[in-house]
């Protein structure tokens, strides 16, 4: 502490140590919070087509089209260790080819301060619902679930499943009209 430089170095080092401790306290204060909450979703229009998937094998695969409703209130999930939520809507189903298929159909980023009360009606999906074969037509049990990643200031990056899901079935006939 005998010169200006050593004193500046000492208080900078000490400030950074304190900052590390504060960040750790922030992490500890939020690590045990249960971030699950209710979400209700519903499908409105469900059709399936059989078209060539030019992005993959060029063979004809099943392509599902659906529109959905989604209601949930995520406002209370935000605290001082949440910067944003990454929501994604997943369809899960099983086919003869695969025991478990998971397809992300839609996603959304909600940042701190933005409106987190979601009430969507008849929304289109953002991403194609491709199957890797012909497993969608007449599939009796496709489950929609909503999940979210919590992007924190410090700590873990948990992936949370919303409470509530919606099961629907695809029609047994392919649609040939334009959707």
């Amino acid at each position: 502490m005998h010169s200006v430089l050593t004193r500046g170095n000492a208080i900078l080092a000490y400030s950074l140590s304190v900052l590390a401790v504060l960040t750790f306290v922030c992490f500890i204060s939020t690590v045990f919070i249960d971030y699950r909450t209710n979400a209700t979703m519903n499908t409105v229009k469900v059709v399936v087509k059989n078209v060539a998937d030019y992005s993959a094998s060029r063979e004809k695969n099943d392509l599902g089209f659906l529109t959905f409703d989604l209601q949930t209130d995520l406002t209370h999930l935000f605290n001082w260790n949440v910067k944003q939520l990454f929501l994604y809507l997943t369809a899960e189903y099983s086919t003869p080819n695969n025991q478990l298929n998971q397809v992300v159909l839609w996603d959304k980023i909600i940042q701190r301060g933005e409106n987190a009360v979601l009430d969507f009606k008849n929304m289109n999906t953002k991403y194609y619902f491709w199957d890797d074969g012909n497993g969608l037509r007449g599939n009796q049990n496709v489950t929609l679930t909503l999940s979210w990643n919590i992007i924190p200031n410090a700590g873990l990056l948990p992936s949370i499943f919303a409470l509530g899901s919606h099961a629907f079935r695809f029609p047994v006939e392919y649609t040939t009209a334009r959707v």
């Binding site: 502490m1 005998h2 010169s3 200006v4 004193r7 500046g8 000492a10 208080i11 900078l12 000490y14 400030s15 304190v18 900052l19 401790v21 504060l22 960040t23 306290v25 922030c26 204060s29 935000f78 605290n79 001082w80 260790n81 200031n153």
Partner: protein, 96 residues
């Protein structure tokens, strides 16, 4: 440039101890207050800003060698004339 040479940069030992203690107290205090305030309003960024304010205050108060850190200079012993063999000192002694 002579102006800068005339600036005092010295802190005595007691002043160094006081400066270190004071900087620790200021930064810790601002950190604790920032943590509490940030938790109340649920904004961790405010915690970081308050800690930064404490850092700036501590830098202003304890980095420059203010006169308050120079109040207890070391009491050096007077040079003993017998042990001193340099010529200049001998000359000054003779003049006296």
């Amino acid at each position: 440039m002579y102006f800068f040479d005339t600036l005092p940069t010295h802190m005595d030992y007691d002043g160094q101890r006081k400066a270190e203690k004071l900087s620790r107290i200021i930064i810790t205090l601002f950190g604790v207050v920032g943590l509490i305030w940030g938790y109340i309003i649920q904004q961790f960024s405010q915690t970081v800003y308050i800690l930064f304010a404490g850092f700036v205050l501590a830098a202003l108060v304890t980095v420059p060698p203010w006169p308050m850190y120079r109040r207890k200079p070391l009491q050096w012993q007077k040079p003993r004339p017998e042990c001193d063999g340099t010529e200049s000192v001998m000359k000054s002694k003779k003049k006296k």
